[in-house]
Symmetry: C2
Subunit: 443 residues, 2 copies
């Protein structure tokens, strides 16, 4: 009997849990689901005989160490900042550790100890990061093997709403951590284009977008993501002239979102005084330059942002409710928390709504002196608001990697991301069987 | 014999040290100057028999505790983040602690323990914060005593260069911590105007300026500073409709500085890859939106910022050297560090240069139903590049407060700022004798 400890029973967990429980009896696995909410964990067990629910407090050292010591493998869907506590104990008790989060410097610092203790700490093994790395590496290795020299690699991913469930002006609903939706793009985006470093500060990230066309779905905005530069090394393409990783939103989203950025209300760094008694409209007004009031809030915000007050972007912003004379009711809140509360409600996935993942890799490469282009695209739709495309594409790579590890089919140890053939090959193969499949066009 | 331990022998220390040593023999004081550079500390003793220099490492727990235990009072001019270590030991060994830095949440948390141990932790006792608090409180208490009801209090301070030494297009030279000059305004500025909260995000802080006229000196830009809201409580004017604390720069400075902000190169949150081999021009180009190049860097930057490429602001920016095809030579540097290196050289105070402090308080108040205005201004010039106006106005309040404490003339304990009459009254009185004196106009 092998034991799996899953920490965090949030939105991304249902398909992962289903994957494990579907195989638990035959494979002799036992799943423990730990969450701050015992109820949430219990619900996720579906009463399966091989599943147990634990009320889990990651900051309780004794409990954390007890649970990690008695398991064989830990999968963490906790907030990224909490992984380090868990991963440190995993190294100590010699248990493998899987997560869909970016490798933090803290996690990276565990590499040598993990190697010493024969432990794999596999990160970035969800969708983005995750499937993007795996599918990119598969193509990069294939192109290289065919004599291709890579010139350009741009990769965009979006967690969106399926067209059949798209009934709001933004073309967006929330299928993952809503806090990350609000804070997206903060920090400076870094990439390389034609051999020159490119940096985009937060204040311009939603204005410097690319139009991305996806067959069958239409046009999207693509904006640059975090630090693309590091992936030249991870992907083994250190000298590629152009490399960019980005995020997709439906065309028009970014211009409207930039209104929130320009106003300043995506800020999470301070608490608004008396936040619960302020109206949304008051908060917006607080961010307007003084002596600039026409009296009409929408006109004033449009003027600040250089937009048509009757245009599509201002319609989107107005629809959000941010101009309403309604108290927030949220105490001790940052501007970002206020905005999150508003949009979490407005952008909620309805029970029968289907979300949608869109990923597009754009490659340009030289082969026999000739320039070729390859477009590789993935579209996955959710079944409903629980079995979302997001839960599938985050959960299945983790589930498959867990299976491979429990079956001793991965030899890599230390801090890794899934750019290794022994990981991406079987994971992509099994994803295909589950209809998470890329389509390719060569032009 | 009373012992004073001064930590940090930087730019702000010379006048403070002189104040202490001038009185050391008569008052029976012994001064120990601790600095990471023993040489810097030694130089600052001027061979005075009552002064000793210590090579001091604040992170060396044993040394820090040894030195604090054997002194009577500690003055810290260390970087603000290091005060907590020192203040904690001051509480432990029951020694008073003085600094010119803002009260951090960490320092604030020491209040109860400091009270218990009969220790004063006096913060914000330099210029800004410092003299601004003291002079404001003196006027606020006076106006209240005369039956005035405060409607508006705006207070601006600038550490500038004196007109006779102003020979660059910015009208600015650096008289204090150059890092803080580069990072100024980061975070969201908060104040209150006509009873409404006002917030300014970093991206707009240098565009939402007020014109401030100072008699005899001309026009300045005033931009809002950090969190003004907290001072309603500290100043005992919780219900004032308008309160703003701001920073002064010579008129035109802010529009030009905003070019750096808009580009994004005041960012201190990441390290530029290969920073030492990049030219300044390359770094600027990296921040420009792609496919927007005219080929002329100045034209492109002006276009991004909506400025005349031949206007005064672009002249200032060009003068900085940021468009030069010259390698930075600075390894592992953030954009902000690169900009600091450039401007520290360009904005250096020459040996015979005089810096200048300008402070202006603007009060509006009702008395007998009539609205009155009071303008209180302070102008202090430096003697030379060592005995700067900045070193005087930061050092003298600290020196005077130290004297008062050693003479047992301050009864307050716990974490304090100098808004208490027993502190501001004698400090302002002694400052006047030293020609640090406000002039008042009532309109």
């Amino acid at each position: 009997m092998k034991k799996i400890l899953l920490l965090g029973a949030g939105r991304s967990s249902p398909v992962l849990i289903q994957y494990i429980l579907d195989r638990a009896t035959a494979s002799e696995w036992q799943l423990s689901i730990g969450d701050v909410s015992e109820e949430a964990a219990k619900e996720k067990t579906h009463g399966h005989e091989r599943a147990e629910a634990i009320k889990f407090d990651v900051n309780d050292d004794a409990q954390r160490q007890y649970e990690i010591e008695r398991t064989d493998l830990v999968i963490s869907l906790l907030p990224a900042a909490l992984h380090y506590l868990v991963a440190t104990d995993c190294v100590k008790y010699k248990k493998h550790f899987l997560t869909a989060s970016y490798v933090s410097p803290q996690i990276q610092s565990l590499h040598d100890d993990a190697l010493k203790n024969d432990v794999l700490l596999l990160n970035e093994c969800g969708l983005d990061p995750g499937i993007d790395h795996m599918s990119a590496m598969e193509i990069i290795h294939r192109l290289k093997a065919g004599g291709g020299v890579l010139q350009t690699f741009k990769s965009y991913t979006g967690g969106l709403v399926a067209p059949e469930s798209d009934n709001n002006p933004w073309g967006y609903k929330i299928s993952w951590n809503p806090r990350n939706v609000i804070l997206a793009g903060q920090g400076t985006a870094r990439y390389i284009e034609d051999g020159e470093y490119k940096y985009i500060p937060y204040g311009r990230i939603f204005t410097q977008t690319e139009n991305i066309y996806v067959e069958g779905l239409g046009n999207f905005d693509g904006y640059a993501n975090r630090d693309s530069l590091a992936y030249r090394h991870y992907y083994g393409i250190d000298n590629i002239p152009t490399l960019l990783r980005g995020t997709l939103r439906k065309a028009g989203f970014c211009e409207a979102w930039d209104v929130f950025v320009k106003l300043g209300i995506t800020d999470d760094n301070f608490i608004l005084e008396d936040s619960e008694n302020l109206t949304y409209a008051q908060i917006v007004r607080s961010y307007l330059p003084p002596r600039n009031f026409s009296g009409n809030l929408i006109d004033d915000v449009a003027a600040l942002c250089g937009l048509d007050p009757n245009g599509e972007s201002m319609k989107k912003v107005t629809w959000s409710g941010i101009f309403e004379n309604r108290k927030t009711g949220l105490a001790q809140a940052s501007p970002a928390m206020i905005l999150q509360q508003l949009l979490e409600e407005k952008w909620k996935l309805g029970k029968s709504d289907r979300d949608m993942i869109v990923m597009q890799h754009q490659f340009e490469y030289l082969v026999n002196g000739k320039s070729e282009k390859l477009l590789s695209s993935l579209i996955v739709k959710g079944d409903d608001h629980i079995h979302t495309a997001m839960a599938k594409t985050v959960g299945l790579p983790l589930g498959i990697a867990a299976r491979l590890l429990l079956e001793n089919k991965i030899v890599a140890r230390g801090v890794q991301i899934p750019v290794l053939e022994e990981i991406y090959k079987p994971v992509l193969k099994e994803l295909e069987l589950m209809k998470v499949k890329f389509g390719e066009v060569i032009r």
